[in-house]
Amino acid sequence: MDQEHAMSRLLTPLVAAAVLALAGCASPQKAPATADVAVSRNAVENAVSAGAAELAPAEITAARDKMVRANAALAAKDYKLARELAIQAQADAKLAQSKANSAKATAAADALDADLRVLREEVERANAPSATTTTPAGATQ
C-alpha cells in the first residue's frame, strides 16, 4: 500500500504531464472511464442482490472499496486510474456474485440430497415390514 502510494505520488506529476500533453484529447478519455465505473456499479449492485454481502463478504468489500476509489479518481479527473479500478471492481463483483450463486445452489443441492436420502430410508422402512409379512405367507402356500 505504502509503496503503491509512493508510486502514485511519484507518477502523479508524470501522469499530470501526460494529461496536460493530451489536454486536447482528454475529453474522449473521460467517456469510457465513466462508462466503466457505471458498469462496475451495476455489477456490484447485482452481486449484492444475489446475496454476496453474506455469501462472499471479502470479494464484495474489495469491489466496493475499489468503486469508492474509482469514483474518487473520476472526481479527480484521473480517468486512467478510474478505469483500471472500475475494471478490477467489476472482476471482484462478478466473482462475488458467482460465489454467492454457487453457494446458494450448492446448499440447495445438499438439502435436496439429504431429503432424497431421508425419503429413500423411509421407503425402505415402509417396504421392509411388508417383505417380512409376505415371506411366511409365501412359505405356507
Binding site: Q3, Q88, S98, N101, S102, L119, N127
Partner: protein, 306 residues
C-alpha cells in the same frame, strides 16, 4: 525516506531491465497462472463455464503479454489480478451450474423414489387385500365344511335314531329280552315240528324279522344256541339241539345273513329254563335261543348259572 527507497528501487529495476533476459513475473501473476492450470484441469469448468473461462484466459493473456513487454510491476500485477478474479469467477460459475444440474437430477430422482414408494404401497395394499380375501374365502369354506359336517352328523344321528327305533319295534315284536349278553330271542318248541328240526311258518317269520334286524345293523352278530329237555338220552338231546340250532342258523343264512356273523352252539339238555317235571315245563326247555350282540360287541360266553 520513501522517495529515496523508491528511487533506488526504480534504479534497480532499470538496471535489471538492462541486463535481465529471464521473463519477469509477479506473485499475483504466478498465482493467476497456477489457478489457470487448476481451472483448465477442472472438467466442470469446460462443461459449465466455457464463456467465463475464455474471458479469464483472455485476461491472463493480457497479463502475460504485459509481463513479456516488461511493463511496470504495477500494471502487470493489475492485469494479473483481474485474470485471477476472472479465473475464480469461471470456477464459481461452473460450481454453481453443476450444483443446479445436481438439483435437477435429485428432483427427478426424488420423483422416481416417490413414484416407486407409491407403487410399492399400492402393491402392498393389493397383496394385503388379496390375503384378506383369501382368508375370508378360507373361513367361509371352513364354515361351510363345518356346516356340512354338522348336517351329516345330524343325518347320521337321525339315521341311528331311526334304526334304533326300528330295531326296538322289531325286538318288541319278537319278544326279545334284554340281557347283559345282548337281546335274546327265544324260538320255542311250538315253532318246530314235534321232535323235528324243521321250523314252522311262524318260526320262519320270526327269523325273517331277525334277518331284517341283522341287515340293518351290520355291526351286530348272532349266536344261535340249541337246548332240549331231559327226556331221552343225552346224546340224542345233544344231537337234536344241534340240528335245531343248525336249522335256525341255515334259515338265517338263506335270508341273507352272512355266515360269518352267525355263531352256533348246542347244549343238549343243559341250561334248562324250568324244572323238567311237567309237560309244559319240558316244552319250555325245548328251545333255541338267539343272542343278538350289542353294537360292535362280542357275545360273552354262557356262564354255568344260566
Amino acid at each position: 525516506m520513501k522517495n529515496r527507497s523508491t528511487m533506488s528501487l526504480l534504479a534497480a529495476a532499470v538496471l535489471a531491465t538492462a541486463c535481465a533476459t529471464a521473463p519477469m513475473t509477479t506473485p499475483t501473476l504466478d498465482q493467476a497462472r497456477a489457478d489457470f492450470v487448476s481451472a483448465n484441469n477442472n472438467p466442470q469448468v469446460s462443461q459449465y463455464a466455457p464463456l467465463e473461462f475464455k474471458q479469464a484466459s483472455d485476461a491472463l493473456d493480457q497479463a502475460n503479454a504485459a509481463a513479456a513487454r516488461r511493463e511496470s510491476l504495477n500494471d502487470v500485477d493489475r492485469l494479473a489480478y483481474v485474470a485471477k478474479q476472472r479465473i475464480a469467477t469461471a470456477v464459481e460459475v461452473a460450481r454453481g451450474k453443476a450444483a443446479e444440474a445436481d438439483i435437477a437430477n435429485a428432483s427427478r430422482e426424488r420423483d422416481q423414489v416417490r413414484l416407486a414408494a407409491r407403487t410399492a404401497e399400492a402393491d402392498r395394499a393389493r397383496r394385503e387385500a388379496e390375503a384378506a380375501q383369501a382368508q375370508a374365502a378360507q373361513a367361509q369354506a371352513q364354515a361351510q365344511a363345518a356346516q356340512q359336517q354338522a348336517a351329516a352328523a345330524q343325518q347320521q344321528n337321525a339315521a341311528l335314531a331311526q334304526r334304533a327305533a326300528v330295531l326296538e319295534a322289531l325286538l318288541v315284536e319278537m319278544q326279545a329280552v334284554k340281557t347283559e349278553r345282548g337281546y335274546v330271542v327265544t324260538i320255542g318248541d311250538v315253532l318246530f315240528a314235534t321232535n323235528q328240526a324243521t321250523l314252522t311258518s311262524s318260526g320262519m317269520s320270526t327269523l325273517r324279522k331277525l334277518a331284517d334286524v341283522m341287515a340293518q345293523n351290520p355291526n351286530r352278530t348272532v349266536l344261535v344256541e340249541g337246548f332240549t329237555d331231559s327226556t331221552g338220552s343225552a346224546s340224542y338231546n345233544q344231537e337234536l339241539s344241534q340240528r335245531r340250532a343248525e336249522a335256525v342258523a341255515s334259515a338265517l343264512g338263506t335270508m341273507g345273513v352272512p355266515r360269518d356273523r352267525i355263531a352256533m352252539r348246542a347244549y343238549g339238555q343243559a341250561f334248562p329254563v324250568a324244572p323238567n317235571d311237567t309237560a309244559v315245563n319240558r316244552q319250555l326247555n325245548r328251545r333255541v335261543e338267539i343272542v343278538l350282540s350289542n353294537e360292535n360287541a362280542q357275545i360273552p360266553p354262557r356262564t354255568a348259572g344260566r
